[in-house]
Symmetry: C2
């Protein structure tokens, strides 16, 4: 059985974990859960040489120094996106660089997955479906009525998974609760398996200009060590789009593998609190912190001591010249703070 | 009419406003409300040369540099307590340094008083009662059922005030509410007027050893410029006590003048928040602060920016190497924090 090619996506620069995550050192490259960074953990999940080939990293030039520093000595190919064009073109760059029959597993680099064995088992099942030219999404079994994720409704059974009946945009709380009760809905975690040639065929069918531009960019790519630099001009012409819109919602061969693996996109301070090890009152601290009568508190400092009294479900983050204090409910507005938006 | 001698008490070192107030720079010497310090404001309230003589400052050697720096060029006598023995001996040192017929007005240096005209009118009324050898307390009209203060129940009317019927220790909330409804109860704000000789007579009657030790300490006092250093040995023998216990609750001539003057002892972060100018959502900030969806928040920093979201009735204080975040209810425990207790 041929090995799976991990395609690790290091794009974007979310502001929802500001001030810890900053434009200069964004989320994938921070040790947010445990001692290693989310990017390092993503690499480690795909480091089993029996199952996986060396990874392909797709990233922009801004993140390149972090990628290379955290790769350490690991073998990898790096594709440097000429500019950010959302996920469909990024994945297409990797697909176009692989043989048509290669099986690729697209992994965001800024998620947390607690159960690596479950991830690898799902990767195996997804690869099987991809070999029969399905466009395969990981369907993550929901643990609560989350309104921050898109959902997948499963349809007919397939070997190791299901056809996808429908994609659903982020629901409100009432619909999310209905989805949870229904049982057939999963979270769309942004993890996909494709046969490289099949992906390019689907892209050509639904986004022909994008597919051609990616092929042109790769045809003119220049190499430098492990780095590949696609030609900027054709890539610049692309109208950016997500893989969900460009391919998954259009293909007739959308499939999913159900998986329960302690997954989180660490999409903000509440998610990070929940992903971390917590004490019996639900608190999690880093650095010099004293909590009195607190519960559900995340407190983290890289300098001054934090002392907190009487708080429930609050995040306190001290990072250099910034102090953030937010309720967990309020944390969705972190990106709109002056400090986060005017970096 | 002879002038009133202000006796300004600069003792103690509360921890309830940590980390702003620290042992090395305690509460009286900080600009907590407005641009000047509480000590400077205390001096300014008694700076009317028509009504007041130059003040006597009673303080310990630890606070002496702050006292002298903040006095500026103001004329004052300073009595340096050999050690802290609570308020009765401190007041007695000042009383023993004055002529018997001098009227003294004892003022803590760490309170906030919004209405200076009301303070001065009450001082005038209190001085009148003190001239007829009453031991006079300011009785502050309560604005809410506070459980952190002692109360005074007024009795028969006297010229410009009332006899004191009874002193009441800090009540619980139910009793405090009853006091407020009753109407005859005032807060004991620790501001007193005495004729110096009458105070020493009362002290000699109720705490004879203390009175003698103070006289001995003053008889052997050494001067140095405006500073007077009482003899340490006799003072060391004193069993410390408050003026309330030593004199006010024992004398038959206890009196009070009612006053409503926007008074606060700034006894913690909630009181400081309430004493400061607040915006329409009840927030008060100092330093670089951004508040989103906050109300009743005090946020103050002398360095890093504070960004806060979604908080109600919380204090956030960033001071050097310390960050405090506490609910207003929890603020009473600030003194027990490691940072506050192990300075």
């Amino acid at each position: 059985m041929s090995k799976i090619h991990p395609v690790i996506m290091c794009g974007g620069s979310g502001t929802r974990l500001w001030p810890k995550s900053r434009k200069s050192l964004p989320k994938p490259f921070l040790p947010l859960v445990g001692d290693t960074t989310l990017f390092e953990q993503t690499l480690a999940r795909c480091a089993d040489a029996e199952q996986f080939a060396a990874p392909i990293i797709v990233t922009g030039s801004a993140h390149l120094p972090h990628v290379e520093a955290q790769l350490g000595g690991a073998s990898a190919r790096i594709i440097v996106e000429p500019q950010a064009k959302n996920t469909a073109p990024a994945i297409a760059l990797a697909a176009a660089s692989l043989p048509d029959d290669a099986i690729m597993l697209v992994c965001p680099s800024d998620h947390h997955i607690a159960d690596v064995a479950a991830f690898r088992a799902a990767a195996k099942a997804a690869a099987e479906l991809a070999r029969s030219d399905h466009m395969v999404a990981f369907g993550i079994t929901p643990t609560h009525p989350e309104t921050g994720y898109g959902y997948i409704l499963r349809g007919d059974a397939l070997p190791g998974g299901y056809a996808i009946e429908r994609f659903v945009e982020k629901p409100d709380l009432e619909r999310a609760s209905q989805f949870l009760a229904h049982g057939g809905y999963s979270w769309n975690g942004g993890i996909f398996a494709f046969r490289a040639g099949a992906f390019m065929d689907e892209l050509a069918a639904h986004r022909p200009a994008m597919a051609q531009a990616v092929r042109d960019a790769m045809a003119g790519a220049s190499g430098q060590g492990a780095r590949l630099h696609p030609l900027p001009e054709p890539f610049a012409s692309i109208e950016g789009d997500s893989v969900d819109y460009a391919v998954m919602e259009n293909t007739r061969r959308a499939a999913m593998v159900p998986v329960s693996m302690g997954w989180s996109d660490i999409g903000g301070w509440p998610a990070l609190r929940d992903a971390r090890e917590r004490d019996e009152r639900g608190n999690t601290v880093r650095g010099e912190v004293e909590l009195v009568d607190c519960s559900g508190v995340l407190a983290e400092t890289n300098g001054p001591r934090i002392s907190a009294i009487g708080l429930t479900d609050v995040a306190i983050v001290v990072d250099g010249n910034e102090v953030l204090v937010t309720t967990m409910d309020g944390a969705q507005k972190v990106g709109k703070l002056t400090g986060a938006s005017k970096q």
